[in-house]
């Protein structure tokens, strides 16, 4: 098992029953292997080997790879949205929320590149994830519109445009450098109707207040 890997699920299951611990081992291994070989190219035995389990053990927990990915991706989504939400507790300014959420997501990608890789593959297999994300985003957008900061009508295409800008950043620069992060946030604000000047100001202001570390 890779030594320097963050073991999200293992941590959550220490002290619990054996069944839960084995399941967590499969989930953590799945993250590593999916991230390094891609979902399609991953074979069941890659995951069980990585978890130091027998191949047959897999089928005590999951019917197939898809079901595992669903579990992994959902767990990751819960973890990530939890982290982001904690940070936005109490923020009521639409643009700030949108910029901050975007920036934090890219920061997490920087710290845990495997998570995001897997999450992005999961989104194609687990439609629920997509719609959950859409719900979060919609709220912030409508908040910004009411406050007069965004000049858009919220629809499915708009939400997906925003998500695709984030996805593009992750694909092009998986470590999400500062430039990538700023350019992506500004692009989203422009898309929502900001002028270039206002977008830039907004972004640097949020970065200074919330991300200075």
């Amino acid at each position: 098992m890779a030594a320097n890997t963050h073991q999200l699920f293992r941590e959550q299951s220490t002290g619990k029953k054996k069944r839960e611990r084995t399941r967590s081992a499969l989930l953590d291994s799945a993250i590593s292997v999916f991230a390094s070989k891609g979902f399609e190219a991953t074979r069941i035995i890659d995951i069980t080997n990585h978890a130091a389990l027998a191949n047959g053990t897999f089928y005590n927990y999951y019917q197939d790879k898809d079901e595992l990915l669903r579990d992994v991706a959902t767990g990751l989504a819960v973890e990530i949205t939890g982290r982001i939400n904690d940070e936005m507790e109490g923020l009521t300014h639409g643009p700030t929320r949108v910029v901050l959420a975007t920036a934090r997501l890219l920061q997490i990608a920087r710290q845990e590149p495997e998570w995001i890789n897997v999450l992005m593959e999961g989104v194609f297999i687990v439609p629920e994830l997509q719609s959950a994300t859409v719900q979060y985003l919609r709220q912030d957008l409508e908040m910004g519109i009411k406050q007069g900061h965004f000049n858009v009508t919220v629809n499915l295409l708009l939400v997906n445009q925003i998500l695709s800008l984030i996805r593009t950043a992750l694909l092009l620069d998986p470590q999400a450098g500062d430039n990538t992060m700023a350019q992506t946030c500004e692009a989203i604000l422009r898309l929502l109707g900001s002028t270039p000047a206002k977008a830039m100001k907004q972004v640097s202001s949020v970065f200074q207040r919330h991300l200075e570390n």
Copy 2:
């Protein structure tokens, strides 16, 4: 063979030697099958069956699926960029070129949804295609900047942001309805620095002048 399928390569090869006609049958079949099952899930025998050929025949023409995809995607790219370029002959206004190219691409997707599907998969396998597209786009962007219409610095992320907006339209609405088309063009102009009002005006003006049919 599906009856209602446009047979791009078959048309190009009627009257030519048998070898060329068989190759075209493989290419056309590949478009259909890749589009319906996706590249990864497609088996060689799916393609040869669709073309009413024996499985072994495939290997008289290509070493593997990748090589075929490369050939298909390149052929499609040539066809599509040719069509778009023809229409933009002589246009020197940056924003008009960008809007028109986007709109025409989405129109072609409406007429030939299979083409775009396959082309988008091909872009991940054939890097040359990506960079060719990037070249085209860069020129128009720089034209618009010189003319004072765009407020951006051209970099790889920007170009990919624009492409991702087009891709999002195709994924969400493969038939690319008029609303999708307009919203996508406006989004691109906003990304390039337009105000919402200017973007909308620009788009409707281009649509009226060049797409009224």
Copy 3:
């Protein structure tokens, strides 16, 4: 599975773990099939069918036919040289050792014709076997030279000449009748410098003392 087949490896593995027993089934089947169809003409499925296993099972044990042959031939070599050595324990007369080793090998061929067939094919694929045989032979030759019985200089060609005389006997008369056996032993002694008369006397003396049964 052929009923009258000696099952060398099966005998060695009864009582052991399943993995070992399956491996032995493959080895024994390989001997039978290689011997009857030849190595080249043998298909993986011939071996697994003969062993009443699924084709895929083969790959749980060997990467390819070559690896299996290596295992089979090595096992056979160990068995055969073991038997011959047991019989020569304590013999210090060079010509006697050479004649006896030759005769015993041909006798084993008579009892287990499949073993020798496979071993001879294996020698071309597993160089270690060849050189092991060469080592054995060299020692006996040099013993005979020191004792003044052989008039030769030991080199690679000489060793191979002796081996080729044995091989010729096996090819022409796989059951190695008494005449073949005697003529081969005498030929080897002549090659090593004996006169016809001495060679004949030597051979019949060894046969009487060691092979009368």
Copy 4:
């Protein structure tokens, strides 16, 4: 087509009809390809490619690879035995004939290594060749016996022992250096009953008289 190849059959067919010339091209190509890849590993298309012919052309001349090998090997045998016989015209001394035939064969192997490779593969497929060789050899052996030079009874095993000594020389040292040649001739004479001293004398005498160049 390899430039430095001796083209036995091509030479024999220049000026003849096209059918004959194409057949010769196949035969000459077969020698080269069989010699370099081995008979088993050679595919029909290897031969036709080498002959700059279409694959289908092969079947205008032969039913399969075996038939071609039979033709090639027979042609080579005729050529080689012809050359050796020419040289032995009028020689009536048994040992001299045996030594000379052996030496000349090894010399030809030195000049045309491909011929011998192919011939040796052919012997396993074309039994007639083996028996023809046996006939030649028998005559010389019986001549030597009548003359009191050989102390053997001629049988199939004896003849094959002699052939195997020659084969061993060719396998171990395809270029058949002088030492290999001498040691092989002496081995044959020893096998036929000569003492080491007489064998050596006989060989060097023949070499001096007939091979000094």
